[in-house]
């Protein structure tokens, strides 16, 4: 599996570290909204298809990336720097943001 880092170009997946689901929204640290915290910690869309993810090019430029990966085919549909927000690359077609 190759992931194309926007800085380094195509690299083997072994250079990358998965940083988790890219759909989560962390509540403000002072938030006491237990539903929001519960959703942040536990709720996952777990789609069979396109999925927003955060990866780090830990074995290269070390940038954090937002990646859309198809969980069925492992095709990487898009990659971009995570800096500046990770929501905009969504290809997701169902479920709450």
């Amino acid at each position: 599996m190759l992931i194309t880092c926007p800085y380094c170009g195509p690299r083997d997946v072994i250079e990358f570290t998965y940083q988790g689901d890219g759909n989560r929204e962390r509540p403000q640290p002072v938030s006491q909204d237990l539903d929001a915290w519960n959703a942040y910690v536990y709720d996952r869309l777990n789609p069979a298809g396109d999925h927003n993810e955060i990866w780090q090019h830990s074995g290269g430029c070390r940038a954090h990336l937002r990646v859309v990966r198809n969980t069925v085919t492992h095709e990487i549909l898009s990659t971009a720097f995570a800096r500046g927000g990770h929501k905009s690359a969504g290809h997701r077609t169902e479920g709450k943001p």
Binding site: P6, Y7, C8, G9, R11, D12, I14, E15, G59, G60, C61, R62, A63, F81, R83
Partner: protein, 195 residues
């Protein structure tokens, strides 16, 4: 001035090694630059940082990811977004940058004692490098002066192409001897010389 020790010392054996009867196809050496710096720009300050590198070193970095330049004594290349490695054969480069890279532009980190610089040169340099790193070493994909960040078995490496058939590899000092030994083994089949 305190003499700087090389971590490669016990494994550094000048002379010809391996299968050199049919010719030496790579030359390995430690370049021992006096200064190895890492410069990082805050978001949006990249152009000012590149200007500062030109002002202090005379090196004009080309545009684009991983762009770099080397002129023998000095070298610079991008290794990550907004981040650059700058090398000088002389010591004291960090203090030359101190007043130029102001806190609103970015940061200067002196890694002169933290990295070891290893040079591989010769007609089989690309071949030997390709055994270590899963990146394209062909000249069109990895142009002269350009830099790449990658790793070999968790030994992080920054690589700059400093000649058509020459690469400079910057590795963590604590891993340098292990990496050097591996590089020597990998060079045996083509015949190598340590300078």
């Amino acid at each position: 001035m305190v003499e700087r020790q090389s971590p490669l010392e016990p494994a550094y054996h000048p002379g010809s090694h391996g299968n050199f009867e049919h010719g030496v196809d790579v030359i390995l050496s430690e370049t021992r630059p006096g200064s190895i710096l890492q410069l990082a720009a805050w978001p949006g300050e990249e152009k000012r940082l590149i200007d500062a590198i030109r002002k202090v070193t005379g090196l004009a970095l080309p545009d684009g990811a991983g762009g770099g330049v080397s002129n023998g004594g000095r070298a610079a290349f991008g290794f990550a977004p907004g981040k650059f490695t700058v090398v000088d054969e002389a010591e004291g480069l960090a203090s030359a940058f101190a007043g130029v890279i102001t806190p609103d532009i970015g940061t200067v980190t002196d890694l002169s004692h933290g990295r070891t610089a290893i040079r591989i040169a010769g007609p089989k340099a690309e071949w030997v490098m390709a055994k270590f790193f899963a990146i394209d070493f062909a000249l069109p994909a990895f142009p002269l002066g350009a830099g790449r960040s990658t790793n070999h078995h968790d030994v992080f490496a920054q690589i700059q192409r400093s000649g058509a058939d020459q690469f400079d590899i910057y590795v963590f000092r604590s891993f340098a001897r292990s990496f050097w030994k591996a590089l020597c083994h990998a060079s045996e089949e083509v015949g190598y010389e340590v300078h």
